[in-house]
């Protein structure tokens, strides 16, 4: 198994109408750019909506972590509709409920609470990514 095969796809909803959508986007960037750039890949949700073959192939070939800002769970639904497997669906609202002190505000630009909430979301994603990668790297019996 090569490095490419061990990638985990990260798919944020990037919802434009609510601050939680921006949190999902920021968390995805934090994971794919800062925390786990080697083992993750960002997938644009708009490409999945359009049915872009490269994007669909990516989520079909690799486990995905989806990050959704509302209960409609667009990211998780689109990965599933594209034939992909959601290794873990992260709901920003659930993370917020566990971190009530991190109140996010702003859509175009997050406040400090929003950035910290994104950091908390990123931490949960990273744990999932590490778990998925370690299981894939483990020798099979």
């Amino acid at each position: 198994m090569n490095l490419v095969e061990r990638k985990v796809m990260v798919v944020p909803c990037s919802g434009i109408g609510k601050t939680y959508g921006t949190v999902s986007r920021e968390a995805a960037y934090e994971v794919t750019e800062d925390q786990r750039p080697q083992s993750t890949q960002l997938v644009a949700l708009s490409l999945l909506v359009l049915g872009d073959e490269d994007a669909r192939a990516a989520v079909r070939a690799h486990p995905a972590v989806t990050i959704d800002g509302c209960k409609l769970a667009c990211a998780a639904k689109m990965v599933q509709e594209s034939g992909g497997r959601v290794a873990q669906g992260i709901a920003v609202l659930d993370v917020y409920r566990r971190n009530r002190q991190l109140k996010p505000l702003g859509i175009a630009e997050l406040n400090e609470g929003g950035l910290q909430l994104a950091h908390a979301v990123a931490g949960e994603i990273t744990a999932v990514v590490d778990d998925v990668i370690s299981r894939e790297e483990a020798p099979h019996a």
Partner: protein, 244 residues
């Protein structure tokens, strides 16, 4: 009294996460929604055309819509046309960058100076298109203007609106044996009832005229729709009266 959504222009941004231009679309749309034309615009998340309900998919028929895309894949424009309705206008950031001689935007997460310039240029272009669209009479069936008109003023500011939290309500109606989903019908019934309009032939004609604003009623089917609307409205009013 319940109100039908006032005349607004819909904005659908691709918000592509992989490219700086995708971030430009998102921030430009938000600038229009929140600052430049807050009372005249509404938005919806692109994936809701698939992940949402019928009310979400009616978006581009309900509102003349501007698709804002980052690159020539044009995900927002193509997906909007495929799943909702043909956009009234389309903007592609990479085209605007070339047109204005801007340097390549960079930094999907944090835009560089050129990216921020692109946000301004794109937002201004979209705001201009909003004014143009509001100035004309939009025909939802043809996806084109009926006739030009004066530009609407924006001296009645309202907060930026996201349509995903208030999807356009749909009601399924039997029209001569066919099940037809009519956008906004529950709101229309509420509005008529609140205005004290009792079921009857004249009111049914008025209902049909209002339904046609938000829905495609095929030519030659007015009589069938009148029967259906008269029946449904009578049932609606009957249920209202039966409530304690």
């Amino acid at each position: 009294m319940p109100e039908l959504p006032q005349r607004k222009v819909g904005l659908v941004a691709c918000s592509g996460e992989e490219l700086a231009e995708g971030t430009v679309t998102r921030l430009a749309a938000l600038r229009v929604l929140e600052q430049l034309r807050p009372s005249d615009t509404v938005t919806i998340c692109l994936p809701l055309f698939l992940a949402g309900g019928q009310g979400d998919r009616a978006f581009a028929r309900f509102y003349p819509t501007i698709a804002v895309d980052g690159c020539d894949k044009r995900c927002a424009a193509r997906a909007t046309e495929q799943y909702s309705g043909k956009p009234a206008a389309s903007v592609v950031v990479s085209d605007l960058v070339r047109e204005h001689g801007l340097a390549q935007p960079e930094g999907a997460r944090r835009l560089n100076a050129s990216g921020r310039q692109a946000v301004e240029v794109t937002a201004e272009r979209v705001a201009g298109l909003v004014d143009e669209l509001l100035g004309g009479q939009w025909n939802r069936r043809s996806g084109s203007f009926v006739e030009p008109g004066p530009a609407a003023s924006s001296d009645d500011p309202t907060p930026a609106a996201c349509a995903c939290a208030s999807a356009i309500p749909i009601q399924k109606v039997d029209v001569d044996g066919r099940t037809v989903a009519l956008a906004a019908l529950p709101l229309i019934f509420e509005q008529f009832d609140a205005a004290g309009k009792a079921p009857g032939a004249e009111v049914t004609q008025e209902l049909l005229a209002t339904v046609k604003i938000y829905n495609d009623v095929p030519a030659g089917t007015d009589e069938e729709y009148l029967v259906a609307l008269g029946r449904e409205y009578a049932a609606f009013c009957g249920q209202k009266q039966a409530r304690p």
